[in-house]
Symmetry: C2
Subunit: 315 residues, 2 copies
Amino acid sequence: MYCIGVDIGGMSIKAGVVDTHGNILKKGRVVTDVDGGARKIIADIGELVLSLADPEDKDFAGIGIGCPGAISSATGVVDHAFNLNWHNVALAKELARIVDKPIKISNDANVAALGETMFGIGKQYKDTIFITLGTGVGGGIIIDGKLYEGGESKGAELGHMVLVVDGEPCTCGRKGCMEAYCSASALIRETKKAMEADKNSSMWKFSPTLDDVDGRTAFECSKSGDVAANAVVDYFVKYLGEGMLNFANIFRPQAIILGGGVCAQGDYLIGKLKRYCADRNYGFAGTPEFDILTAELGNDAGIIGAAGLIYAERK
Amino acid sequence: MYCIGVDIGGMSIKAGVVDTHGNILKKGRVVTDVDGGARKIIADIGELVLSLADPEDKDFAGIGIGCPGAISSATGVVDHAFNLNWHNVALAKELARIVDKPIKISNDANVAALGETMFGIGKQYKDTIFITLGTGVGGGIIIDGKLYEGGESKGAELGHMVLVVDGEPCTCGRKGCMEAYCSASALIRETKKAMEADKNSSMWKFSPTLDDVDGRTAFECSKSGDVAANAVVDYFVKYLGEGMLNFANIFRPQAIILGGGVCAQGDYLIGKLKRYCADRNYGFAGTPEFDILTAELGNDAGIIGAAGLIYAERK
């Protein structure tokens, strides 16, 4: 048995044949023709899928799709995907006209959460929280091995949990969301602030102008003991740790898995987070601790996790 | 068919015969003999149950129990219940020696959440969040009509979600938890602060000394337009609203149900909360809104919800 996983992005659409162990056997991709509109993109996805597998093959169990935006997974409709300019697109139904197979869709962060828990770093666990730290902060919730998307599949907006009432402005309109403290954009904002406040910081060597600052600047200079860089890293760890502790108190997951570019910091980041969270886990002696892990599927998480939507259904 | 619901409190243990519609047909209570120890209390519970129903009766489907503290619901063990001075008490197993019936136990806030959703104000809904605003802030999560307790039944600690990193100290050891802003204790703290800052406030008439302040002081004086009282109410509504919005973004429930003394404020509180939350619900057009309700089962929530533990199992 195998499934096709499809990862729809604003730039390209990637697809792969994924076996029951989460291995990608064959891959393909196509440029996302945003200007061509939904019908054209769905036709392209259909063609991509047909180039990878034969619908007549009984081993071909179905197609899972991860898509950015607000998804109605029960009906297979993309309600809104702004970077595709899609509104109310019946993706599953339209694609089924081209490839008549079971089709499941979900939000891209949810799909990555499922992939990492079924087939990636979290595969020894059944209850995990996945947090992806990119331009924004997204997330996914796995309960008893299954994706939990919230009511009408519109929950799990983990980046939009307020950590500081009246805090930093967030893209969602509220103030103080986790996204406004733990995204790469927030890390860069704080790095620039720290550099402007300390003209002698070694961060100015790593990133000669403020335009050169990225998510690595503070972390790399912190490793060589730069005081201002240390303070930025401590800030990032503190807010991320507080957010993780909040999820722990609500879900008590076995593990929290972090994705996104900042995870390249690996043990340096994870060690600091573990120390921050260790003393602050809520409750009495015996309250289960949670492991903290970095995602391992990388760019393939979308394809593998999308295929997982079909496999999880069959369990 | 009927069940017995048992509500264990630090002062008394209440039990009732509950029918399949959540009606209490018969009630009993016994003083909680904390000094007598776990064995004595369990014997008392057994006697109370036997006074209400005959274990030989085939219509008697089981016993549900709500207990304060940290519970392992899968094994029926009370890990810690500090106000009972219980640690690692095998409640379900020990009680089954006295009354040989199916026995389910859960945390008291979880049980109240289940009761309000199965049989109370939330019965038209399947996905709800229950928040109880008392000395502390507790909560319960209902997903698809079932109680979700988190990993190892140690989650759903809704009061211990930090809303303000580095904020007001919380009893749990962290700072800025929802409990430190939305409990009756927090409301009283803020009321006292406002009264000390404004010696002309009408709150001094309602509560002549600071020792007279309770959860009603600010609300009642706010209704007659007292400026300082209004500010306290706005503060309470703001933090409670932000906490509710956080839960909405994670779970996207159909309704959030509020319990505890402050709910006596009814529509005055709910109206303000609805106005606060309306503009701040995350997401795109079409993101489901949530209803805001006050609990209606009152002191019976514990008995009815405990019985619900058995009924929910049989669904």
